[in-house]
Symmetry: C2
Subunit: 477 residues, 2 copies
């Protein structure tokens, strides 16, 4: 491996080098936008999704599985949804040797599949609320440029939650809960974010409104991390999902849904990585600790013994640990190898460590070493994991904050965006569609949304009337 390209100036090259050479994925599969997840990367993805699934369980959701193929007539029931997804939804009409008598669509997301069933399941207020999720592969034929993990045609792990409620108020409360869950999730991945309500003209197909979580990538482009969507009663009407309430009346339900995908892995690799390669947050590191024995002519047996014992002990305590005993590699090349692959902690054991009953630990984030007594090792690791996590979050937060730029006029916004070289710009906005669209157009940037709770003073940068919110714009993945 030669030197990595600069993470900020040549982000794409840095990203491609890191994800491929560190064995996260392989993009040589012969279909654009569909990649192979190698074991090292897939392990992190699995750990990541388990964190989210556990959170959803704790908040009273249940996991289920709904079919991947959708009959065309079911898919087509909600018109906005159909229109929104028709360009990117794959269709099956045959097997290799036979024609089918109907069209089956590959889910780009599972609203229609699930809501068809909800209309069968729900008849009474006693059947509500429903809070379900599934973690599945979904398919979107993106015509734009694909990017491994970040923008793909097979999303291999889409965690989508769907909820059904009696009242609008309950659905709104569910949106708050979803935001809380996702906040905890991204916090645990050490990804800082802002939460924005999507402007009306960009709202999810078939939804009343939605919130997106955004962060800023190393190339200063904004990226959507997850979406929380209030569907109102649109799908309830399209799918006739009704319940008989306590008052005896039949009413349409209110629905929400929210989703997150493997994209978060692409984001956390990008945000936390540095000029030496990946830095995994300890919580999702496929390998959290690597042990490297330092060869010695006189006492290599006892060194290797000590290394094996430590490996065994740490594994028994639940750490993901690996002893790198490859005989044909120098310690230095092993350090380099595992630094590139982002293992948060390295344990070095040589003559000195054996003689003195100590262990040398090296931190990946600060590239610093400390020495601890054998019997303090586990405690030290826990403290170091906490410190590494804090440090990674601190860096990431600093990066995000430095890329959210407040401007007071279109000219000011354009200048600052150019000076910083990207980022997310926010400008005072009256809240009207035509002014929001004008901001996008004048700046040549995409609208990301606004924070309805962030009431501001000042005047709209387009019409000059009283501003209500900041309108956030930037270039988006």
């Amino acid at each position: 491996m030669s030197k990595l390209p600069d993470k900020h100036r040549e982000f794409s090259a840095w990203y491609d080098a890191v994800i491929e050479e560190a064995d996260i994925i392989d993009k040589r599969y012969p279909l654009k936008g569909m990649i192979v997840w190698k074991p090292y990367g897939f392990k992190a993805l699995k750990l990541t999704m388990q964190i989210l699934e556990k959170l959803l369980d704790e908040y009273g959701h249940e996991e289920a599985y709904f079919p991947m193929l959708v009959p065309e007539e079911v898919f087509a029931r909600e018109k906005d949804f159909l229109e929104g997804f028709s360009g990117e939804t794959f269709v099956v009409e045959r097997t290799i040797s036979k024609k089918l008598n109907r069209k089956l669509l590959l889910r780009p997301t599972s609203e229609t599949v699930m809501y068809y069933m909800f209309s069968i399941w729900i008849t009474s207020y006693r059947d509500l609320p429903i809070k379900l999720y599934q973690t599945v592969n979904v398919f979107r034929y993106e015509t734009e440029q694909t990017k491994p993990i970040i923008r793909v045609r097979e999303i291999v792990r889409f965690n989508e939650a769907h909820t059904v409620h009696k009242t609008l108020e309950e659905a709104n409360k569910q949106i708050e809960e979803a935001i809380e869950i996702y906040s905890k999730f991204f916090d645990s991945l050490l990804i800082p974010y802002i939460i924005l309500k999507t402007p009306k003209w960009d709202t999810f197909a078939g939804a009343e409104y939605n919130y997106d979580f955004f962060t800023v990538m190393p190339d200063r482009k904004a990226i959507e991390l997850g979406s929380v969507i209030n569907l109102g009663q649109k799908f309830a009407r399209a799918f006739e999902i009704k319940f008989q309430d306590q008052d005896g009346k039949w009413k349409y339900v209110y629905q929400t849904c929210y989703g997150v995908s493997e994209r978060v892995i692409g984001v956390l690799l990008s945000i936390h990585g540095d000029s030496r390669g990946i830095i995994w947050p300890p919580i999702v590191a496929p390998i959290q600790i690597v042990i490297v024995p330092i060869p010695s002519e006189t006492m290599f047996d006892s060194i290797l013994n000590k290394a094996r014992k430590i490996e065994e002990k740490l594994r028994a305590s639940g750490f993901r640990v690996k002893l790198d005993d490859r005989p044909d590699m120098t310690p230095g090349s092993k350090y380099f190898w595992w630094e590139f692959r982002g293992v948060p902690l390295r344990i070095e054991i040589g003559e000195k460590e054996v003689k003195e009953g100590k262990v040398t630990i090296a931190r990946r984030d600060l590239m610093r070493r400390i020495v601890v007594n054998d019997d303090e090792l586990e405690e030290a690791i826990k403290v170091l994991f906490k410190e590494i996590s804090d440090e990674l979050y601190r860096r990431a937060k600093e990066w995000l904050d430095s890329n959210i730029i407040t401007a007071t006029s279109i000219e000011d916004a354009a200048k600052k965006y150019n000076d910083v070289g990207g980022g997310i710009v926010r400008v005072p906005w009256c809240g009207e569609d035509q002014c929001g669209l004008a901001i996008e157009e004048k700046l040549g940037l995409e609208g990301l949304g606004y924070n309805p709770r962030e009431k501001i003073e000042g005047s709209c940068v387009v019409c000059g009337k009283e501003a209500k919110y900041y309108f956030y714009v930037g270039k988006k993945y």
Copy 2:
């Protein structure tokens, strides 16, 4: 819920009633052979696959993910494989609004997807062995009758392992290892089995030979639980998977693969269930213990308190436990409800239990109660789980054994098969294809295979020459 149909005489009706009414799956999804997994059933499926994944990890396999869509030209490289799967493999040629410029196939299994990548990954003997697996959805357009969970068009959890080796000997050893892994897996699910080598004429498309695990369902039909396949060098030649060996020469690799699906859930529900409904093996029970408080006019608060404390304590100890505190249901209907849903243990807490510091535990398998002191509860549960598992396995083994019938001639086989009303019949066989095919034809049954290690004496029931093995036949799912 009315009385269940008889499990043996009306197995299909029993099965349909149990899986739908106990909330395992919902088959009302409007595509034949594609079903919805409800949370209660999906939980068991997830636990089941985790057992297998853990075993595969312990035996040195790594989990990965390969794309679901296969370009037609990659799929078509191994001719036997293409022919074997062409009728049942779905094809994508377009999105809703656009035609694609190539055909993409939905994986019916992932040989071709993976082996394309293996041909890129493998260049040296140092790259071998490879032992990978993935747990994914696969698609097979079965033209025969579908049956929920057992024979479906979307297999939602297919665990497929694929290995690559330098030598035939190593590949053969891998087959032994796979058989060991699957044996442990089915043992842990309390499913007894026989392992048979598939006759040549039924061997997996593209394989040298394969072994299948079989058991017998309540209607006395045989069912395949899993397959272990030696691919030899067929795919290596089709995909040009070669490595440079230590002697400097380029050689084709040897490959194996083995797979298991959610079908095992259908099988274990069928085998362990009884006239009252499901009986889950404790190891995969979505709920292992249900706590039912018995109402009391004078001391219901302390009863409910005790129930809550026990729930909390058992959950903290890692048991999957549920307190059924529905106020509008009698204890009797709760007993019935959870018996039907197969929860292995029920804890009853009433006045007596509170006053005496005891707990009443009811076993689902034997419908028997025991009383233990509060402080003996956890230990008692562990012992009971072991006893229930032993009892379920004993019953299942007895069933399987009573359905494997040895016969000495075609007439004898036909008579015994009729007398028993199904099962698996085995007859002495010389090992020649034409005699095996004749046995199938004369009995009107399907060949399941033979056990090469089970050398026998006697004469072939067709040609009269010296017999080598028993040939096993039956009706197959």
